[in-house]
């Protein structure tokens, strides 16, 4: 059986996509696979969300797209990060860290602690 899956919190899909695309031009299927693998299959990206998100980011100018051949010789649409996307990635990563830290701090409070 597969590992237990976690739904992506709202708004984090864009961050993950930008992060993966920052490593080099990549097509949609590879992005989905990469997220799944790196998260040890804990995060499953639905195609129904992935592709609209890719098109939205492309339309916003955070990603640029190009049709290229894959190593298997088929044509695929490769996405890469633009300068604007890099800035967005930086902002969103910082935001995420701040959020995670804050949430972590709150969760560290044990039940008896007074605030």
């Amino acid at each position: 059986m597969d590992a237990p899956r976690t739904d992506l919190p709202q708004g984090t899909l864009d961050l993950l996509i930008l992060h993966v695309a920052a490593l080099g031009p990549v097509h949609g299927y590879a992005i989905a696979q990469r997220i799944q693998q790196v998260s040890r299959a804990a995060l499953q990206v639905q195609q129904g969300s992935l592709y609209p998100a890719l098109h939205r980011l492309e339309n916003k100018g955070s990603l640029a797209a190009e049709w290229k051949e894959t190593e298997t010789g088929r044509e695929a649409k490769f996405y890469r990060l633009t300068a604007k996307g890099r800035r967005q990635l930086k902002d969103e990563t910082e935001g995420w860290h701040r959020l995670a830290e804050a949430v972590g701090l709150i969760l560290q409070l044990s039940e008896g602690d007074s605030v």
Binding site: H27, Q33, G48, P52, A76
Partner: protein
């Protein structure tokens, strides 16, 4: 990429999207196989994981941001395609809407021209007309336009106030009616105004060619004239430079044409043919009057004034600034200050809107606007029902679209596009119809001012089209979008509950339409009844065989005595013409609305009226010999006026029955005297039966008639001729006779006496005709709506009817069943409409004549009419229901 590039490359994009998703899908299958699945299993898992391909695609398109454009285009094309597939529906909807919008636009266009439009000049909001409130100072002479006329002195003082006004413009008609002008052989009638030199520069009116006249022309009283473009087209074949320099004989005096005003400028008083600078000659007095010139008589208030406010000065501010100067100028000729018990007169500045005197038509226009408004609502009801029917027929399509992943919002938008297309086409066609209707209106109403629709009218049309679109478009849309997805899978029988709701809504709409239709038909009945009453009224004389025209003697006679001689000679010549039975003349043309009014002086003292609330006023007219014989008015006592009642003869007068009853009750009127001036009594020598003077609607008033030779012979008189046969056929020979006196002498407004009286009820005739049209339109729309509802009901119940008949129902029962339904709806409509009708008919009161706004006969007639129409509309579907063959009907299901 631009949005249009994206739109253009749509096909390419779609291919790429498909390819991208396919690549993902196939990569997944490959990976699944690599993980050890069979090919079928791999494909199944991939598909499960992927979800609905089309919905992913749709989300991607949406994410691209231009989807609204793509899909609007798609919606538009799809709507066009589906509308084309149902041409009957489309035509019915578009045409119904076009009728509603066209009628509204046409009436609004006229309303706009009469009440709302500003002058076609730059910064029209600065243009104001001047009013004196409440009227001219006591003791000042006036023209009857007591609120809007000023003395020459006031004009001269105000025009120097450049702190308040950038221009003050005086403009006054050259005659009460049209004047005679000649630039070839035959004189013609035109409407002319005499204005200050800043008319064109002050307003900012451009010239089509030539130059405007100027202040210098005014100071020199130059004999120059500027024509309107409409007059140029009418009389100079539109040859703009060609008309310049030509000589125009205005009232017999030569004027040089120096310019033609730009097309679209029709003057300040509706429609003016030509303008000349202010003149000093007595022949060119204000309104063509024979009084002293307005230059000589500083106390005669005869000049209408208008002004352009100085930049940054409001009307209120300007009034405050110039009031002291105005009051000084107003009272200077009257001893410097107002009469002790007179409130000093004040000035008011009113924005120039519509045509002068247009406010008098406001009532009629309101009624007409209300009528066409109702028609539009009725039309919208029909279109709403058509749309609901169409959407019901398409429910299966809708539910399939929803089932395969189409969004309800998208469906809503698709239907909205349908409505918008219909609205757009309806509005465009309505606009065209209104242009046709405009022509008809101009002809029917004798409109002599510009009614070319302007931007306001266009905005109005677009506005009501949008409103209509919302009214008829939205409700059915919401209903349609509530379609359950499962419907696609169900059989047709499951539709029943849905369509019952729609049927109820349909009946509700039809009942409302019937109620509005009743209001319209009742109003139309009242207005037609009014016209009939007016047309059948007894004028007090025989109009058949009478022809009338005006003559201005100023061309040949310059004094009272000369004019008497001229008219005597003219009457003698005319009497000698073949076919002429008798000829007379009058100062005020009967039936033209003009009258002389004064306090009656009987036997040298102010008259004492017998009877409660009777006024001591009388009307009078100056008339020629054989006046009553020519008209055919019965002479009750004494004699008619004759040729011996000359200036030198004893002063005589004739009074009417009402005069005798009110002022000389119980006495023999003959031998008493009547006058409008105590120093100048006229002995009463005859009493005549009452007859109409100003118009058809006039009530009986005390009347005195004086020989024109003994009052003032010098002004324009109207010649009345009784001839055998068609009276108009005598005019050419009359024209020749008149030209014998002077080539510049035109027959002013020649027409039959009947036509002259008909003119006094032309508004009523127009309103009656229009209301018949509107009533008929409403009846037609309601009948169609009712027919549609019942026909739909019959088709829905075919099998039920079949069962009923198979079980023994007679054809008549079935017929009655359907007919009853229609009549029930109609009766509900009448129940709602009757109180509304009774409430709203009060609005008509001032337009009616000889019947009350709640005239029971007319109201009952309207009710019966509406019921008959409903029955007729119901009969077709009812008889179709009655002819159902049970076997066929049952097999159908």
């Amino acid at each position: 990429m631009n949005w249009w590039q994206r739109l253009w490359r749509k096909r390419e994009q779609e291919r790429r999207l498909e390819q991208e998703l396919c690549f993902h899908f196939e990569s997944q299958i490959a990976d699944n196989i690599r993980a050890g699945m069979s090919e079928d299993e791999a494909r199944r898992r991939a598909r499960l994981e992927f979800g609905a391909l089309e919905s992913v695609k749709e989300d991607c398109r949406e994410a691209r941001g231009t989807v609204w454009l793509d899909s609007t285009w798609q919606d538009l094309r799809f709507s066009l395609r589906t509308l084309r597939k149902t041409p009957a529906f489309t035509l019915a909807a578009v045409f119904t809407l076009a009728l509603g919008i066209g009628a509204n636009t046409a009436i609004f266009n006229v309303t706009n021209a009469i009440l709302l439009r500003s002058l076609p000049v730059p910064d029209p909001q600065q243009i104001v007309s001047l009013k004196v409130e409440p009227a001219q100072p006591d003791g000042a002479g006036n023209t009857g336009d007591s609120e809007t006329s000023f003395s020459e002195l006031v004009f001269e003082r105000l025009r120097t106030r450049h702190d308040a006004f950038s221009a003050v413009i005086a403009h006054v008609p050259l005659g009460f009616n049209k004047i005679s002008v000649r630039h070839g052989e035959v004189p013609e009638e035109v409407s002319g105004e005499m204005t200050s030199g800043n008319l064109f520069s002050g307003l900012g009116v451009r010239m089509a060619c030539g130059r405007p006249f100027t202040l210098e022309d005014e100071y020199n009283h130059a004999a120059v004239t500027v024509l309107s473009y409409a007059y140029l087209e009418r009389s100079f074949a539109g040859n703009c430079p060609g008309a310049l320099g030509q000589t125009l004989h205005i009232k017999g005096f030569p004027f040089t044409i120096v310019g033609v005003a730009a097309r679209g400028f029709f003057g300040l008083v509706g429609s003016t043919d030509l303008w000349i600078p202010l003149q000093r000659r007595p022949e060119f007095n204000a309104w063509g009057s024979s009084n002293d010139s307005y230059y000589a008589d500083v106390n005669w208030w005869c000049l209408p004034l208008m002004a352009r406010l100085a930049p940054g000065i409001s009307a209120e501010r300007a009034v405050v600034m110039v009031t002291p100067a105005f009051q000084r100028a107003a009272y200077e000729p009257l001893g410097g200050k107002p009469h002790p018990d007179e409130k000093p007169r004040t000035l008011a500045l009113v924005p120039m809107r519509g045509i002068p005197g247009g406010q008098g038509q406001a009532k009629i226009l309101t009624v007409l606007m209300a009528m066409v408004g109702l028609i539009l609502v009725i039309a919208c009801g029909n279109i709403a029902m058509l749309l609901v029917a169409r959407n019901t027929a398409r429910q299966r399509e809708f539910s399939i679209r929803l089932a395969i992943g189409g969004s309800r919002f998208r469906l809503f938008r698709q239907l909205l596009t349908d409505s918008l297309l219909i609205t757009g086409a309806g509005a465009a066609l309505g606009w065209l119809l209104s242009l046709v209707a405009k022509r008809a209106l101009v002809a029917w109403a004798g409109i002599d001012f510009d009614v070319t629709p302007d931007a306001t009218v266009l905005l109005f049309t677009i506005g009501i089209a949008i409103l209509a679109g919302v009214v008829f478009g939205l409700a059915p849309l919401i209903a349609a979008v509530r379609v359950p997805i499962g419907l696609a899978l169900k059989s047709s029988a499951a539709n029943l509950s849905q369509s019952r709701g729609r049927l109820r809504a349909g009946r509700f709409i039809v009942a409302l339409q019937v109620s509005m239709c009743l209001m319209l038909v009742a109003a139309s009945g009242l207005l037609v009844g009014t016209l009939r009453n007016l047309e059948h009224i007894n004028l007090g004389f025989r109009t058949s065989g009478l022809v009338v025209f005006g003559i201005n003697p100023q061309l040949v006679a310059h004094s009272n005595a000369e004019a008497s001689v001229f008219y005597q000679a003219l009457l003698d010549k005319l009497r000698a013409l073949p076919g002429v039975e008798s000829v007379t003349l009058m100062g005020n043309r009967i039936g033209s609305g003009w009258s002389n009014n004064t306090t009656a002086i009987v036997d040298g003292k102010n008259a004492v009226a017998s009877g409660p609330n009777a006024s001591t006023g009388m009307r009078w007219n100056d008339v020629g010999p054989d006046f009553f014989t020519t008209l055919g008015v019965p002479i009750l006592r004494g004699r008619d006026l004759n040729g011996r009642d000359s200036d030198a003869a004893p002063k005589v007068a004739i009074v009417n029955e009402t005069f005798a009853k009110r002022f000389l009750a119980g006495r023999d009127p003959l031998g008493h005297s009547v006058s409008f001036n105590p120093a100048k009594p006229y002995t009463i020598v005859g009493v005549v039966a009452n007859n109409k003077y100003t118009g058809v609607r006039e009530h009986d008033t005390p009347m005195a008639y004086f020989p024109y030779t003994q009052t003032d012979a010098s002004g324009v008189k109207h010649i009345e001729m009784r001839v055998a046969g068609d009276p108009v056929r005598v005019l050419p020979v009359v024209r020749k006779t008149v030209a014998g006196f002077s080539p510049d002498m035109a027959l002013l407004q020649p027409m039959t006496q009947q036509a002259q009286f008909d003119e006094t009820i032309s508004d009523e005739r127009l309103v009656a005709r229009l209301s018949i049209c509107f009533g008929a339109l409403a009846v037609l729309l309601v009948a169609t709506g009712l027919y549609g509802t019942l026909a739909y009901n019959v088709s829905r119940r075919t099998s039920e009817i079949g069962v009923r008949m198979a079980l023994g129902a007679r054809r008549f029962d079935v017929l009655w069943m359907i007919l009853r339904e229609g009549l029930l709806v109609c009766l509900i409509g009448i129940a709602v409409g009757l109180p509304l009708t009774l409430l709203s008919s009060g609005l008509l009161e001032s337009l009616l004549f000889g019947l009350a706004p709640r005239d029971p006969f007319t109201t009952s007639l309207a009710i019966v009419g509406v019921i008959l129409v409903s029955a007729a509309a119901g009969l077709v579907p009812a008889s179709r229901a009655a002819s159902v063959q049970p076997t066929v009907a049952l097999r159908e299901e």
